[in-house]
């Protein structure tokens, strides 16, 4: 003979979340136990009262509000736009690399760990030294000559990004307006 059903067992019994053998055991117990019968009826009454709550209707049309919201904001890019974005990004990267390749002279790496350590200790790290390959006879005073190519590369990349962003925004705006 089973002891009184626990709260957990009663709830699981009510919800059908109990194993078959435990369900049979619980049913047998419930047949004879008035106390557990009353507890189960109390839970069933809660379920019945909850089920009786009437449906309510929204006062405003939710569809109109949702439509305004989702159409007023940029949505996911289509596959075509994603491909275009990747191509544009790749082009921009290639332009920057080419610019760097032909105008920048990389730092000379230290020959050994001891040399590197020496540079660090002397705070004489050889940062990337940049120099334009200007036509013979033309020279720029340092540090302008050193940083100018990097500035140009940054400007080129930035301008390309700015153009891409504007093109995308304008295109999306046209789609929304149409």
């Amino acid at each position: 003979m089973m002891d009184h059903l626990s709260e957990s067992q009663l709830n699981e019994f009510l919800d059908g979340e109990i194993t078959e053998s435990l369900r049979q055991e619980a049913e047998t117990h419930l047949e004879d136990c008035l106390q557990c019968q009353a507890r189960l009826k109390s839970l069933e009454k809660v379920a019945r009262l909850l089920a009786r709550l009437p449906e309510v209707q929204p006062v405003h049309d939710l569809e109109a509000a949702v439509r305004r919201e989702i159409e007023g904001k940029p949505q996911q890019l289509s596959l075509g736009w994603k491909v275009l974005l990747v191509v544009q990004g790749g082009t921009m990267l290639a332009v920057c690399l080419l610019l760097a390749r032909y105008s920048v002279r990389w730092m000379t790496l230290p020959g050994s760990w001891e040399e590197l350590a020496g540079q660090v200790i002397q705070l004489d790290l050889q940062l990337p030294r940049l120099a334009l390959r200007l036509p013979d006879g033309i020279t720029l005073p340092e540090p302008v000559g050193n940083i100018l190519p990097a500035v140009l590369a940054l400007l080129a990349g930035g301008a390309l990004l700015w153009g891409m962003g504007n093109a995308l925004l304008l295109r999306r705006q046209k789609e929304i307006e149409s």
């Binding site: 009262l49 909850l50 009437p54 919201e69 159409e71």
Partner: protein, 175 residues
């Protein structure tokens, strides 16, 4: 067009198809929100937020199934987040309020009972309301509720059993 076609189009980013799904399921989503909040305006705001969230994560919708249960799970989570961020909302509006017109006696009794049930629901914590809504109005199993609310099964059971105990106590005088 049936719901499966609408869901298929919505998943591929068609806003019109998604709006048709909204039209189809707005009553169910709103009701779930109302059970959670007990307030019409709050329920509308939560339902709208849930639809926007659903649109942004439309890729997670399985076009082979009805969007209703998925949308109602989202709104329960939206309500849960909103309720946990603030104090319990005042009961600005209650289900079954007596209308100005005289009503026959049985309807008045039923409305009063419904009002008390809604009031009792609002005494529960947000998490308890969430499990009651998912179990009694969505028919989710314990494990489905644990998945929908991203919480351990033991927490779900504990909240559900405690919520029922509290409701039984609050509603013991009702027939």
């Amino acid at each position: 067009m049936d719901e499966r076609d609408l869901a298929q189009r919505a998943v591929h980013g068609d806003p019109d198809a998604f709006c048709e799904l909204v039209q189809l399921h707005q009553a169910g989503v709103y009701n779930a929100a109302y059970r959670m909040t007990g307030n019409r305006q709050e329920a509308e705001d939560a339902a709208q937020e849930a639809f926007i969230k659903a649109f942004r994560s439309i890729g997670r919708l399985d076009p082979g199934r009805s969007a209703g249960p998925w949308l109602r799970r989202i709104v329960v989570n939206v309500c849960l987040n909103r309720l946990e961020k603030r104090e319990a909302l005042p009961l600005a509006e209650e289900v079954g309020l007596v209308s100005p017109e005289p009503e026959p006696e049985p309807q008045v009794v039923e409305q009063e009972q419904n009002r008390q049930v809604q009031k009792a629901l609002l005494k529960l914590s947000a998490r308890q309301r969430a499990v009651i809504t998912l179990r009694h109005y969505e028919g989710l199993s314990y494990s489905e509720m644990a998945e929908a609310l991203a919480r351990p099964l033991s927490d779900i059971k504990s909240d559900l059993f405690r919520a029922r105990r509290l409701l039984a106590e609050e509603l013991k005088d009702l027939a």
